[in-house]
Symmetry: D2
Subunit: 409 residues, 4 copies
Amino acid sequence: MSDVNKVVLAYSGGLDTSVILKWLQDTYQCEVITFTADLGQGEELDPARQKALKFGIKPDNIFIDDLREEFVRDFVFPMFRANTTYEGEYLLGTSIARPLIAKRLVEIARQTGADAISHGATGKGNDQVRFELGAYALMPEVKIIAPWREWDLLSREKLLAYAENAGIEIDMKHREGGAPYSMDANLLHISYEGRHLEDPSAEAEESMWRWTVSPEAAPDQAEHIQIGYEKGDPVSLNGKKMSPAALLAELNRLGGKHGIGRLDLVENRYVGMKSRGCYETPGGTILLPAHRAIESITLDREVAHLKDDLMPRYASMIYNGYWWSPERVALQTLIDHTQEHVNGTVSLKLYKGNVIVTGRDSADSLFDSTIATFEDDAGAYDQKDAGGFIKLNALRMRIAASLREKRKK
Amino acid sequence: MSDVNKVVLAYSGGLDTSVILKWLQDTYQCEVITFTADLGQGEELDPARQKALKFGIKPDNIFIDDLREEFVRDFVFPMFRANTTYEGEYLLGTSIARPLIAKRLVEIARQTGADAISHGATGKGNDQVRFELGAYALMPEVKIIAPWREWDLLSREKLLAYAENAGIEIDMKHREGGAPYSMDANLLHISYEGRHLEDPSAEAEESMWRWTVSPEAAPDQAEHIQIGYEKGDPVSLNGKKMSPAALLAELNRLGGKHGIGRLDLVENRYVGMKSRGCYETPGGTILLPAHRAIESITLDREVAHLKDDLMPRYASMIYNGYWWSPERVALQTLIDHTQEHVNGTVSLKLYKGNVIVTGRDSADSLFDSTIATFEDDAGAYDQKDAGGFIKLNALRMRIAASLREKRKK
Amino acid sequence: MSDVNKVVLAYSGGLDTSVILKWLQDTYQCEVITFTADLGQGEELDPARQKALKFGIKPDNIFIDDLREEFVRDFVFPMFRANTTYEGEYLLGTSIARPLIAKRLVEIARQTGADAISHGATGKGNDQVRFELGAYALMPEVKIIAPWREWDLLSREKLLAYAENAGIEIDMKHREGGAPYSMDANLLHISYEGRHLEDPSAEAEESMWRWTVSPEAAPDQAEHIQIGYEKGDPVSLNGKKMSPAALLAELNRLGGKHGIGRLDLVENRYVGMKSRGCYETPGGTILLPAHRAIESITLDREVAHLKDDLMPRYASMIYNGYWWSPERVALQTLIDHTQEHVNGTVSLKLYKGNVIVTGRDSADSLFDSTIATFEDDAGAYDQKDAGGFIKLNALRMRIAASLREKRKK
Amino acid sequence: MSDVNKVVLAYSGGLDTSVILKWLQDTYQCEVITFTADLGQGEELDPARQKALKFGIKPDNIFIDDLREEFVRDFVFPMFRANTTYEGEYLLGTSIARPLIAKRLVEIARQTGADAISHGATGKGNDQVRFELGAYALMPEVKIIAPWREWDLLSREKLLAYAENAGIEIDMKHREGGAPYSMDANLLHISYEGRHLEDPSAEAEESMWRWTVSPEAAPDQAEHIQIGYEKGDPVSLNGKKMSPAALLAELNRLGGKHGIGRLDLVENRYVGMKSRGCYETPGGTILLPAHRAIESITLDREVAHLKDDLMPRYASMIYNGYWWSPERVALQTLIDHTQEHVNGTVSLKLYKGNVIVTGRDSADSLFDSTIATFEDDAGAYDQKDAGGFIKLNALRMRIAASLREKRKK
């Protein structure tokens, strides 16, 4: 083992990262610093502190941060400015949280003089890549310990045996039955992988979903809401200004109530395999069409199309873990620049899984009804111009067609 | 007026194109050939024949074609192979029908020795561009008469007066009340523009929608269906082989019944203005996620991403009227090539506006559960490989970060 | 004719724009303001003033501006930050000058209360588009008079007769022989079109070229130079700081002397036709590889590739006249952002038409010889990492290949 | 060591791969099959056979193939159809040869029942990636032995000691002086890396270059040539039909004679570092502008631009080793489709490092001089059309500008 003096561990307080904590102490004989973040996953963080203390972690070495506002303001919202989806559908709920954790791991490492960081992501997934690319980009000399790629605790049994041996408390749910879903949650979403989802032809069990009711169980009465936008970010709900995290939390509540935001898909991981994932993103599923709607009246056509053309690439950057890369920052510069006038209000109707845009309004609207009208436009637009427009756009095709006709003769 | 001997008119039998028919006869003193297509718009075509005869059109000059299978097979399905949406949402229901009409207008012109074609699209919209670019690309020497850009009947009143004068039958709906919605229908969709939709903040009236019930009015019971795919095209429904048009018609019925496929958006027209449109595309709204789902297990990641990157450009080509352009054909070559192994079955659940993918299965599946599994994979994947993968991907960022740190010192 | 009160004319003082000046006075009976710019075309501007006075233009209505520094600093250099070429080769010498002229026309119109602008570009070329798109984007209500699209002086004879009639001085070169080349010059280049260039298989005449000697006639002795870069822009030559225009002028002198910068190509015009053009861009032809060279050691790989992917689109925007469009500004934001650390020095050798990069150096260099070396790197790079890198990148292809092999069995 | 029964080694006969051959026998105790290809590198292959025999390789296990025609026809020419350059300049001479070698290694492995392949590429370069991605894509179960990533012979001294010990003949050049340049040659190019090139500010030594004379040393007399194209590929030189390899060889001779095709650049390797390389690609440097020239008159504008937009991505695929990937094949399908009418003749002048296009001609030319002419075009093009074309293209910018002006008030 390479020598490590201090390691900062991304610590949830759960079984896996508790085993890792102990394993790091056993294997590297080094000082462990635990970092636990509140990203809105909806779990209490105090147990993590208690457990860390039990492992002999010094109080000064226990970091517990509420990152909810930073997460939504500096990661989720910038991503939504681009109408980002990975492979057409996935709202990147897990991907977008990883760079923030990487950033904090590095900050804590620098602050405490640690030379290494560690995390509980497996060697098959995207998260290891996201954590580590982020860490390397921010602290190039950092050592990274990825226990799942190093240890021999690859079966559930071995892991439980190690835990038992180390006196780590094991929940009943872990003892009984098979492996649980692999889950990840934060203010943007909760994800599920593994178990019987590994058969992509099998429908997800209703009991799996945690944040949303099914559309069938949602209220029979639609709910109308209004989201206010400033520079491309949502800033108010039904006329009430709200902080980023508060707004997203409230949209999650509304979406969850109305059966909105479930997604079941097979995606392509950066490490090369296909993987089945289920996601609940209630607030995000409302924000995507809402942002598109406010852009639809405030953004120039060619700027909108440029964004659309670049979006899949931007999404891949985030999915693949390149948030802290110079190319993501360069694209973000462009994206943010385009949002200057993306201001206004979007009206939506939420009903049994549906998010329906019913109206959009803006003082910066480029929608000019005097021109688009089917009624007489009083000369605002000269229809004859269209003839020349078409003729010149057709010219190259006409020349080619004439040549084709000549060839035939 | 330039001299025109024979003109082929895209003739619906409705008020506007009837006025155009008469106006062509009056203005150009030329022989008019009428072309009426059944694209699945759901209207009887025989009245168009009767009206044409009344205008003195020779029976040989009346062309009425059932193009439904050709439309779906050669236009709609190729477009869906690319998961095409314009500006993130619009399924291009009108755009995709225009090139087929342009093609038939030209074929009929060649067959009858006509030197001109004419259509009823206005000078403000996209359809004139689509008709005319298509016609020029296929018959470069053709003359095009676009009455809305030439005549002085720009107000509703003048048009009605002209019609009355010409003895053209005027429906009660045209006499009473204001202008109707501007609508277009075919097997893929029905569209609405104009009237109070010209205010993008106003919600569309429930009474406007024709093909779908509202989600609220849809059955309380979900319906499960299975769509079979071959080479990227849907070929069967619930195990039953169906022709393209029959399959799409049945999906329209199912979607309409379950409140699926309404869309209300502001889009950017090729001629430079923003425009509010409402669309019902019940079958198409089912086919989009279904195709994505079957691709998700049968398409290589990088091929899928290449398609995603090119899709907005392909969509713009169709939206802007460049179906018959060499660049659309070139892109189609690539798209079609990728669909070779896009075979299998997708299971979906239809419920009150929701289209929910519940499973996908294929003999050509690239989903390899022995590799993706969270369980022991018996050596199919070496987790240690991920360390090198990440390190080399991080290398350029680490070098840059080291340089940044040196700069600070 | 629509009523125009005051029109600002882009006036060169040459025959064509002099005829236009007179024609505007005759046809529109309006006050004409002349605008003549020094963009480094190498002609004296005082004759333009004298001629304008002779046409009765009020001294206050004669604008003659030296725009050379603004042209190079705010137009040429920003474009070179993107390594811009249109259709792989053209350095956009004419295209990049038009937006500056459009901007000044509009500024002068606003300053003088003019309601129209006019220019001498023909109806077949790109320049009309560039002038007019720029003007409309900056002054949406402006009226534009494009005499070549309005008048009947389309043949050379009619134009000369009109000139004679109006007492406009006609050079001998215009009277004798056929039409001259259509030329355009500024600090970046001089262009030639027309005459026997209209046959793309015919070689350009040696006598046509004005700014460069032929490679054959260039010195037998190579010349070595060094260009210093700051934030992506050239700022010094051979260690001497120079203003943008002075630096480009000096590179033009050096390039011209060494037979550098001739280009003969067939390009695709925005208005739909192919066109043969010959260009001399001596300084620009040196700056393109020089900028690439300084970027090669200072720019991150993915940022460089992102720029390369977007460059053709950016080039088309400039070529097509969209400099003042929001999409060009958005792309420029990204491009400029990437140039933050593009600092350093490039060494070049100029010899008989060749521009040869011989070295590049920078305090911001990302070239790390301790890693790239073929010698022992003392552990800076672990070659074993490459195995994992390759294995994971290959994974999707291996899974697909396994499936193919199974299919065969 | 994993057990390997038979391994196919890409064997050049040189010192490094001879050491590898012996090391494979020593380390894996397995049967070695040698594969030596003539790709036009200009070395005799018989010595490789003799050396292999000396190592005890069975005659049946020695494969020596002349792949020159296949290399140029199926790899070089398809790549040139896309006007491919990596990072704006590099003609990918090494990259394009690797997939053919990978393909033959796999074919021989299948034919001989070998379970592994081996190559002499180092762990820092791109070639290991290209060989191995290719092999994995074609033979997913293959084992790959990359000695440079496994053994401890990383210093020159250790390697020479091992060679001496094994009785491997060592050239004087290897014994004396420092390490040689790392070189690679085939019919498309010869490359140089390492030694003092590792300082990117240092000029390459004149003595390094092998295939081309310097421009200074080239003839004072220019040479004019004509290249004939069919479907995008060069098929004749000065009117004489030639096979792909023969044609490229002759262009190499001509280019080399006239000092054409040297390139000195810093490139970004796929494995994450920057690297300085010098290349001589005499024939390829002639073919690039020649192909662009024939396309300039035969390719539609939008198709050409689509190709330009995709080219950098295609180039990266080849550079990074993804020739055998499905995404490269998909792009090739599009590229090849576009070349259907790329037929004709290009005239070029070769002079002291310059490749000057002097003319292009084609029966499939889309250049229509009746339209582009500055002379009277007899109505082929209506200049008035341009007004409408510009107005509609400007519309969105005018609407936005009006809104900006209203905002100011």
